[in-house]
Symmetry: C2
Subunit: 463 residues, 2 copies
């Protein structure tokens, strides 16, 4: 527990209305999307960068652990205060879009801005912020940067790191760091923004984010391919992409997801549909959109697609996407708890990876419905277990570990977009060798020698 | 001087045919594009990653300084062995394209591969590696990554860091580090590749590079706009881009460059041409190319363009680009030595930045022809002096310092693509505050505690 004198000092720093150590606040800030709970000793709402700096100086001096937090929507525990201490919650005051600079096509935001609020604000100006994690309606840009959030549009447009031009951040010693510029090119000094992205709040507290915007493409159409098998669909994915297609998104659903969509939502799909690919293509001219659709149709049909559907209107598009949007909620028909991992492999390995993941599932006797961002190789693998059965949970975690070993063996990664946090920390030694883990520790130590920022995450030492 | 016993040991490690300490080799590896000379004590040609690791272990133990080197084509001294020691030259053995993976659209290369060799190899397969520094015919990928090289196509396609998916590198302690994956999404562990990019060989020795490739666009046309003044051209740049244009390149030449092109090469241009913009647009369909040209023509004419020329064929394109390609060699008509700095500002600041740069030139009585990558805000500013006149050189450097102060004040950077190295090291304290410089030192120390890798570069401590 935090000494009450620290709470008092923190109240002096940020005002008493911005520091809470009561049970209600501690519970309210104890969770994230992992549904695991760890209560912070206090919740602090900094009003600005100066507050953050002063809080860090104080906590660094007194060895008080800090967990920065956006919306708490992460899937791997990055925002969980596993060591107690202070949760530094950015959503209350540091939640403003500071500037949308149309001339240079950049936006400057505070870390607590919700992703979709930024998307909507720039789209009103005919600009476009592509990163669209599934949590876009509530996750914050600070969290997006800290986890290097992906999303559906990554196949064409890349991920959060491809849009961060500059950051402001505070080191544990209170130093305010400016990293990057509002310029496309900047090669002066180390790429500090580059290392802060995906660092899960373990190196510095991000206080301001400058992102690149694009002109909003004028045309968009959706497509759906229905395949007899996962293998057909997966081959169609990488053959269309290597054949020159550049779809905005290419989302995959396997036979179990198709079954769940039918059972739970009554979605009408062909009897023998073994896998779906759904996505968007876009362009400044309609001919570009049609060019993309032609390549996709050709590649899909050459790889066994039974049907290729194009949605020409927004309404038709909504119908196609309805299936994909409900993939995650529908698969609960196979078990009360899903052990959801977002593995990523080189796209050409997708057919083999899926085949072997299903084999692991069969061996453990679990259903493993898979769906996700096939266009960028990032698949959400869901080991479905009875959450009330301890034995099943344990077996499920063993299956997950085998899946990680398989994925890393195939040149893939433990996490495409969810991060490591606490959930995947036990598997870091599958993906990284001693030398690499040792480098991570050295970097952590360089930024945060007293280990006060989000200790114990990413497989790094706890307190 | 290096103790001869060290030379002997290095010969044992990599073979005697790969270690040279004779005068001829030391002179041959003493220069780069800055035309400054520092002789290494020995030149070592590692055969592979294991060699690099064993050399680093040995040198780290004995405190022998190492300067990694690609083609030595850098403009800021990154590859100069300013502290003697060993030059680790990658171009002799570690110069192979290891793989072009068409299915995943990535290439894997050793650091000594020449940029253009990679471009040509992938284009034969209808793929595309966009980063195109002006040194593309001789600079190496290792150097490109270490300096985060830009180029003409950055306006649309970004810079080297936007294409690096994974690196292998060796730390000074000999540890071999794998950073990144052959996947679009990968958020496991710190973004080590991100911090190694642009680190100028000061943190680790890069031994393998995996880059993302794109499908090669099918259509390309070039355009040229002729403007009465720099101000008109600069306004046209950011107005076309914020108006939705996404040209591959948008290269700028000012009135002095136009004058030099006429005088030195006899290129025919209108009498009153005060600035040129030359570039390419591309697309998968011709309609996209025409869409881009329409926006450009409209924006150019609204901003005072006297003429807008489209090159429809490759031959016509070569004619337009001839002017841009000869901008750099032609400006020697204004002085025997150019103090060439590659500043970058947010695009909307270009008109004001250029105006004030010319004012600085006038105050010092130097011609300052400017040209470069206006589409991404990166301009090559050339203070022309008589290289044999010490006084002029000194004054020229003062003018450069004023230009840097101005640029940083406008939100720009000391270097858009050339790096800091030794040339710009004295100006680091203009761009960065104590806290930021201190963080750079801490990161350097975390990777290289004995300061053996390229010490004294980027404003970091020497030996």
């Amino acid at each position: 527990m935090l000494d009450p004198k620290h709470v008092e000092t923190l109240k002096e720093i940020v005002g008493k209305e911005n520091v809470y150590s009561d049970k209600a606040h501690r519970i309210a800030y104890s969770y994230d999307a992992t549904r695991t709970r760890f209560e912070p000793d206090a919740v602090v709402f900094p009003r600005n960068e100066e507050d953050v700096s002063r809080i860090l100086v104080y906590c660094n001096h007194h060895g008080i652990v800090i967990t920065p937090r956006g919306a708490g929507s992460g899937f791997t525990g990055g925002a969980l205060p596993t060591n107690g201490g202070i949760t530094l919650a950015m959503e209350k005051h540091m939640n403003r879009i500071l500037e949308i600079d149309m001339e240079n096509m950049v936006a400057v935001v505070q870390p607590g801005v919700v992703n979709m609020d930024l998307q909507r604000a720039v789209e009103e100006l005919r600009l476009f912020y592509p990163p669209d994690p599934a949590s876009e309606e509530y996750s914050t840009l600070g969290g997006n940067v800290s986890e290097n959030a992906g999303g559906m549009r990554a196949a064409k447009y890349g991920i959060t790191k491809d849009y961060v031009m500059a950051l402001r951040a505070v080191r544990p010693n209170g130093d305010i760091i400016r990293a990057g510029k509002r310029t496309i090119k900047d090669v002066a000094g180390y790429n500090i923004a580059g290392i802060l992205i995906a660092s899960e709040g373990t190196l510095a507290v991000i206080t301001e984010i400058t992102v690149k915007l694009l002109p909003k493409p004028k045309f968009r159409k959706a497509y759906m391919g229905i395949f007899p098998s996962v293998d057909n669909a997966m081959n169609a994915v990488f053959r269309s992409l290597s054949g020159g297609a550049n779809p905005v998104a290419m989302e995959f659903m396997d036979a179990l997801v198709v079954q769940a969509l039918k059972e739970k939502l009554g979605i009408e799909l062909p009897e023998d549909a073994g896998a779906l690919l759904i996505g968007d293509v876009d362009g400044n001219v309609i001919e570009e959109v049609d060019f993309q659709l032609e390549i996709l149709e050709k590649s899909f049909k050459e790889n066994g697609a039974q049907d290729f559907v194009i949605a020409h209107t927004d309404k038709e598009r909504d119908t196609l996407w309805y299936a994909r949007r409900n993939a995650s909620p529908s698969i609960t028909v196979f078990g009360s708890k899903k052990l959801n991992e977002d593995i990523s492999v080189p796209r050409s390995m997708l057919p083999e990876a899926l085949k072997r993941i299903y084999e692991i599932g069969e061996r453990y006797n679990f259903k493993v419905p898979c769906f996700g961002h096939a266009g960028d190789g990032n698949i959400h693998v869901n080991v479905m277990v009875d959450g009330s059965d301890e034995k099943q949970l344990e077996e499920g975690h063993k299956a997950i570990e085998e899946i990680f070993e398989l994925v890393v063996d195939m040149g893939g990664t433990l996490s495409g977009e969810h991060g490591i946090g606490t959930s995947k920390a036990p598997f870091m030694n599958i993906a990284f060798n001693e030398a690499e883990l040792s480098l991570f520790k050295d970097i952590k130590h360089a930024f945060d020698p007293n280990n006060i920022l989000n200790p114990g995450k990413m497989g790094l030492p706890g307190v």
